[in-house]
């Protein structure tokens, strides 16, 4: 029974990773850049909710809505100011800028909110589910996280395949130049992708902070990196891949925490990344990229 409970908690953690990983994988697929600041957008979302709900007493639902809007605005602003001017520059320059933005957000948060951890109470009011006479308890957070994760992936997949702006995203990720010739607004599409990714980050922050109720300026950094690992694991650029990679990673992390060593769990997660890169660099569901000269 304890194995099953670790397993289900792993799926829940994995769903959070998956939601964050979606932001990475979409941006990477379209802009071909690693948005290092994505994890810190989560942190900003967490602070917005904290300030609104716990300090000002706003209704949680409105708080989450405002956090989603704030993160979306933040994501689009970052893209416009820091990434767009460098679209044609060397990849190294873009990467360094992204690290700079991530570092800037962390240190701004440090300046405003100090490094004292804020204790975050769960915003999810769902009673825990008791199975098998109380031997297996599934918390409300776990269930909500898993459901939200699945809903987001289904909606997002539908959106990308069946709407005009979704197909524009696919076109831009295939070939920017050709998409532009076909009348797709490339800059607009990339900004829209950042908006979706950042909105998802805000939802991720609600789920993350409900499951791990301490909030510091570094809160987003590690989950952000792990979510990127999940995106690579599942195949970068692929939406079902991000979900699959996230859940697998969450399960691996939780099981190694339970059965091997809690301090080594992170090392094992990154070991998985290295293994994946060695065996199948494009990830589980990734497409093989043919390099053209």
């Amino acid at each position: 029974m304890s194995f099953l409970s670790y397993f289900i908690n792993g799926i829940s953690l994995g769903s959070v990773y998956a939601i964050i990983a979606l932001g990475y994988t979409m941006v990477y697929g379209i802009a071909k850049m690693l948005n290092f600041a994505h994890g810190d957008v989560i942190m900003v979302g967490g602070y917005v909710i904290f300030q609104l709900v716990f300090a000002l007493g706003v209704h949680p639902f409105i708080g989450i809505l405002i956090a989603v809007i704030a993160c979306t605005v933040l994501g689009v602003t970052i893209e416009r100011l820091a990434y767009r001017p460098l679209r044609m520059a060397a990849p190294l320059a873009v990467l360094i800028t992204a690290i700079g933005v991530s570092y800037l957000l962390q240190n701004l948060a440090l300046l405003i909110f100090t490094s004292n951890p804020k204790s975050f109470q769960s915003l999810i009011n769902v009673p825990a589910l008791k199975l098998a006479d109380g031997a297996l308890v599934i918390s409300g957070e776990t269930m909500v996280t898993i459901v939200v994760g699945i809903v987001i992936v289904v909606v997002l997949s539908y959106f990308i395949r069946n709407t005009k702006s979704g197909r524009a995203m696919l076109a831009v990720s295939e070939d920017k130049g050709a998409a532009q010739l076909m009348g797709v607004n490339v800059n607009g599409t990339i900004a829209f992708t950042f908006a979706i990714g950042s909105a998802l980050a805000a939802i991720g922050s609600v789920l993350l902070c409900s499951a791990y109720p301490t909030l510091t300026p570094q809160t987003g950094a590690m989950p952000g990196i792990k979510a990127f690992v999940a995106a690579v694991f599942g195949g970068i650029g692929s939406i079902p891949g991000a979900m699959l990679g996230g859940i697998l990673l969450g399960v691996i992390e939780n099981l190694s925490k339970a059965y091997i060593s809690s301090q080594m769990a992170d090392a094992i997660v990154f070991g998985v990344l290295i293994l994946v890169l060695l065996v199948k660099p494009t990830g589980i569901l990734g497409k093989k990229i043919q390099e053209k000269v």
Partner: protein, 373 residues
Amino acid sequence: MDELAYATEKEGMMKKLRINKIIRNYTTYAVILAVYVIVNWMIQRGSISSLFQGLLIPLCIYAVLAASLNLTVGILGELSLGHAGFMCVGAFSGAFFTQVTQQIFTNGYLRFFLAILFGVFFAGVAGLLIGIPVLRLRGDYLAIVTLAFGEIIKNLVNVLYIGKDSRGLHISLKSSIDLGLEADGKVIINGAMGITGTPKDSTFFISILLLFVTVLVIQNFIHSRAGRAVMAIRDNRIAAESIGLNITKYKLLAFSISAAFAGAAGVLYAHNLATLTATGKNFGYNMSIMILVFVVLGGIGNIQGSMIAAIILTLLPELLRNVSPFVSENRMLFYALVLIFMMLFGQSPKAIQFRKKYFTLSTYLKEKPKKEV
């Protein structure tokens, strides 16, 4: 006739370029020596405050770190965010060596020299092990994996316990009691408490010497056959591969050398402190970013520039401590801005065009219309 004239002119230019390069290299060495002589003279005269005397060794350490990271970022063209991790490997293996061999080698200089070699070896091997899976892939992955590696090393060192008694060395990942030491045994690496009681072998002389050796090796590497191969790979991997360069070999070579020098800096760091612990502050992500800021501000690919940036950015917060406490307390914030603005104004296509149009002297002076040959 014309062709001959062109050929001699070209040869002359090449010679001039080569001489310029040699002069530039020797200037660097001369400047390092001059700094050493002047600072020593000033210490003897007593005109350097104890605060700045304490900064001399860290300055050299940061300069070595910056120069070695520039080898990865500037020459190899890959972004490493785990440079502090290699420094950590070097620091702990070097300090461990010193502790174990304290009775064997009584000569401090010889022992320290061997400790540096030991640290360099382990950091280099760590670089090799990380590099093998990752350098075959594209840049973004390297950034993430090196970042992860830095964190893993930090976590590992914090749960590592090594003790020594008459039966030899004991290793445990749980606690110091699990080592099962004899009564006279001594715990060398004590988990999160780190290594205590390492002799303070680092001196300004040795630090300057290491800086000198670092510049010597890196400069010579860059201008060697291997270094040119590495730069060719950076500029165009496919072209480099098609003329028969072994991509993985040269990438690994440059990456390991860079890691090894970070390790050397780590050994120096470990022997400058009474207690060595692995925290987020000294071997974490922040440290790696700080070294990256030195490289970016000093100029990606410019070894001398990154060393100067390291020295300025280390001294500046100390100098500003009284003038503007806000700046020196929140230096990380400014580091972030340095990264963003250096890239936005230095690397974006529009900025480059703008600079070319208005600020390049060469457009007025050097680039006269070339004669058709």
